[in-house]
Amino acid sequence: MSVHLKQDSVDDRNVLDKTGQGVIGEPIERPEGLLKVTGTAPYAAEFKIPDCLEGVLVTAPILRGKVKSIDRDAVLSMPGVVAVLSDERMTGRAAQGMANAAPFQPAQDVEYWGQPVALVVAESFEEARDAAKHLPIEYETEEGPIDPAAVETSPAQDPTRQGDLAQAMNEAAHSVDVTITTEGHASAAMEPHAAIAQWDGSSLSVHASLQMLKFNRTELADSLGLDESKVRLLSPYVGGGFGSKLGISQEAVAASIAAMELGRPVRVVMSRQQVFQTIMRRTETQQRIRLAADADGKLTGFGHEARISNLPNEDFPEPVIQSSQFLYAGENRLLTLDMARIHRMTAGSVRAPGEAVGVQTVEQAMDMLAEKIGIDPIELRLKNLPDQHPVKGMPYSSRKLAECLQQGAEAFGWEKRPRKPRHTREGEWWIGTGVASAARIHAVVEAKARVSLQPDGTGMVESDMTDIGTGTYSILSQIAGEMLGLEPKDVLVRLGDTDFPPGSGSGGSMGASSTGSAVFLACEDLREQLARKLNVEPASMVLKDGFARWDGGQKALTELLDGDEITATGHFEPGDSTEDNLVSSFGAFFAEVAVNHWTGESRVRRMTGAFGFGRVLNRRTARSQCLGGMTWCIGNALTESLLFDPVDGHLANCDLAEYHVPVHRDVPDLQVLMLEERDGAASPIQAKGVGELGLCGGAGAIANAIYDACGARVFEYPMTPDRVLAALERV
């Protein structure tokens, strides 16, 4: 059985509120949690495969150019070395998310420092690594621009122009015009990129660490010139992705080529340095924000002009202005996104592309405007929530932004007052608080999942969907359990295998709503199948604890199934419901920050996040997503920054000692409020995306708190001690 829904209309039946099991939203533990904390959940590189060769990528120490020659013989005689590959099909970059086609080939055309150009394969990892370091390669080098500020830009998307922003600024009672920069970010997932490829002479099977298998399968097949049906990908556990594993990357393609050429399994694991140097970065940005307001604090003009960068021939533009389209009012609008072409590794999706750097700057500008007007910054925001999309006019499907600001303020203990910095000092530390809104566009993609009821009365869910540490195993078992009247532990969820129906994959916070909806649709069909067996209307049947109950009777599912298995495949496709409505998740951040008067060190002391993201499917895993997002806010605000060499363009800080993600001590008590919503336009399960929301804007709350603490407005992220001190000296 296959059920297909293209969601053109709002589904406000709220089915999951009416079924009887009562497990939706429950904070159940992850079914795979024990495996993970005991180190027994196998990650891509950990599968024990007999006779496996080891491959190590060789990277180019030049900015740009071509491989002229490779002296294979120099290393083929080294102990254990089996082959040196520089196949035309090797890829120099990773594929962008949902590219669904091979990334840039051949790898031998070098476009950025550190690009993989060859693969050395040996019997042991150590031998391969040593030989890789010794492989003599001659290059024909070329120059190329590396400074994003020094090149001409071109529009990366059509600008949004409405009215006359310049005039609105001229006529404004209060205005802000500020330019803020952010630096490049790395995904910095714990598990490095890794693949083990096996070729049986006609088909390829690859254990890999990937987020979106159905796309990755096409990308890999296309890279290799193979038919898709000949490629199987397996990613049951993924040690974090944060966007860096959306597309197929160099190691999986290289391992596959090697396995096909050598007739033996080949494992390729990137070193930490290679992950940093060759996998997607988030572009640095330069953003000019202009806000014009009348005497009452109503926005009359809103401008957000952003500069980003990418390699030549990469389409992906960091959508910095994405939620600026609809977050705040202002009749006169100018939103632009301009691209500089430079030779740094590919810019692609890194944790909440767009909003993760685009909201915090707007939120800083809003804070400055509130100060100029002399009102509480929450009040300014509440005054300026539009009734509908400010340009396109469609309605918000749901928006708990005002409630998040108000309830978050209450929970945090926000003092309602105009901001006036330097009000509290504890010893060497200035203490301040800041607020910011959160916004993240909601998206869904096509997804399929197969659900079955087994003769023993247990359920099974199968999809090539991945769980990248977010809790997918848990929530899919809850959706199926709720629909089929089973405890989640009685639903086996099998993921991360392209032999299963193609789910959405994990990315863009789309997984739960997309694949969750496919599971939901399949279960609706199973409910109908059961109702038919009972000869009752599906709506009059309650499934609970393994029993079907209806007016006048009850029967165990095992009895009803009578030794059979029943199966259905759900097929969800987004339709007009997300076109006719503006569907986005919203929230609010509150931060208390201490700034050291002497050293400019800034430390977050506490933080509250209040979020509305539709139906909460699992309070534990959803909260964890919010905690993770808020943690990234701290990194984004204070420490994270890719440092590129100004001479040859290479990435200097390419390990976790020098690329500073927050450590435990940087992350204080984080309070999370989840405001339940039902959003029938978002998905038939009324859920929106949550994963990325927690990091969209929070760095702005921290920046505003730094100002409230010490009086320094810092306009460069991250706000490292040197930058805070420089700003303090300007006060």
């Binding site: 420490t639 440092l643 200097a652 927050p662 940087d666 040197d722």
Partner: protein
């Protein structure tokens, strides 16, 4: 990583004999050396594992304390005598790395840890320290972590550690055994300035093994270790100050200061104590101390901020130590 031979030393003489070969390096906790071997920055032909030598003891020596070269950073920081009499040392150690690393890191290895310069650890970049004569990538490059004092046109790297900064303030002594016998070197003279030979971090000659660090008799005063860093743990110092400051009758009677993150060695400038001792503490005095300290300071663009940062951090430490209100 290059293939290498591994030998385990059973006796100290054996270790220094083996290590006398210029292609041989002693291995202690391995937290620095093994990382650098993986990156092919260090390419010894032989590792001589000194881990089994009995140099792990922390023992009274006269009124002072002798910390064996193999005592772990965790053991040293937790030692009751260190906590009671040399708290600046415990604080410095605990400000470094992580618990896991400190469990493995040793006294000798910590003193000999190599710079964190990004160009030193990337073998595809020029670096005079790693490959003499190849140039210095950092001078015109990403120099955020780099030195402002005692640099040379050949190298602007810093000694990155914390423990040795406190030891320099305490005026501890490094005990060394080599093929030709034993010698002692003050911690303050153990690390070198880069000059024209940045490949040499310290005064150890091939075959010389650190056996212990001895701390002199404890002195009274307030012990402070102040480390400025971007994140609050697991980051090297942008600048750090180890201070033992004592006061009597409104005057400073002791001011033993050393600085980290600024130079190729823990920085100690005797003129600072001369200036401070016998003076009444004041912001103006602290400013003069900073003037002395930073007299020859030179930034390299990205690390220019270290000059004002060091001035401010020194002032903060001295205010804290003397009770002067900012």
């Amino acid at each position: 990583m290059r293939p290498f031979d591994y030998q385990r030393a059973e006796r100290l003489e054996h270790a220094s004999q083996l290590a006398a070969d210029s292609e041989t390096l002693p291995l202690a906790g391995g937290t620095n050396l093994i990382d650098l071997m993986k990156l092919q920055v260090e390419t010894p032909q032989t590792l001589v594992d000194i881990g089994r030598l009995s140099m792990g003891e922390i023992a009274e020596e006269g009124e002072g304390l002798r910390i064996g070269a193999l005592a772990t950073n965790t053991a040293t920081a937790a030692h009751p005598r260190v906590r009671a009499d040399y708290p600046v040392l415990a604080r410095a150690i605990l400000a470094g790395a992580t618990q896991q690393l400190r469990n493995k890191a040793t006294t000798g290895g910590n003193l000999c840890q190599r710079t964190r310069c990004y160009y030193f650890t990337n073998i595809d970049q020029p670096c005079n320290k790693r490959e003499p004569g190849s140039g210095c990538g950092a001078i015109d490059g990403v120099a955020r972590l780099h030195g402002i004092l005692g640099t040379s046109p050949q190298c602007i790297a810093t000694y990155p550690g914390d423990m040795a900064v406190a030891m320099a303030a305490l005026d501890a002594t490094v005990e060394i055994t080599g093929e030709s016998g034993e010698r002692s070197v003050p911690v303050r003279d153990f690390h070198r300035l880069p000059g024209d030979t940045p490949e040499k971090d310290n005064v150890l000659e091939p075959g010389e093994i650190i056996t212990a660090v001895t701390l002199p008799a404890p002195v009274s005063g307030k012990h402070i270790y102040r480390k400025v860093r971007e994140r609050s743990s697991y980051a090297f110092a942008l600048c750090s100050v180890a201070a033992i400051v004592d006061m009597a009758e409104g005057r400073i009677t002791r001011a033993d200061l050393a600085f980290g993150g600024l130079a190729h060695k823990p920085w100690h400038d005797p003129r600072i104590a001369e200036l401070l001792v016998d003076s009444e503490p004041s912001l103006a005095l602290f400013d003069k101390a900073a003037d002395l300290l930073l007299e020859g300071a030179q930034g390299y663009g990205e690390n220019d901020f270290k000059i004002p940062l060091t001035r401010r951090t020194l002032t903060a430490v001295l205010c804290d130590a003397t009770g002067v209100e900012a």
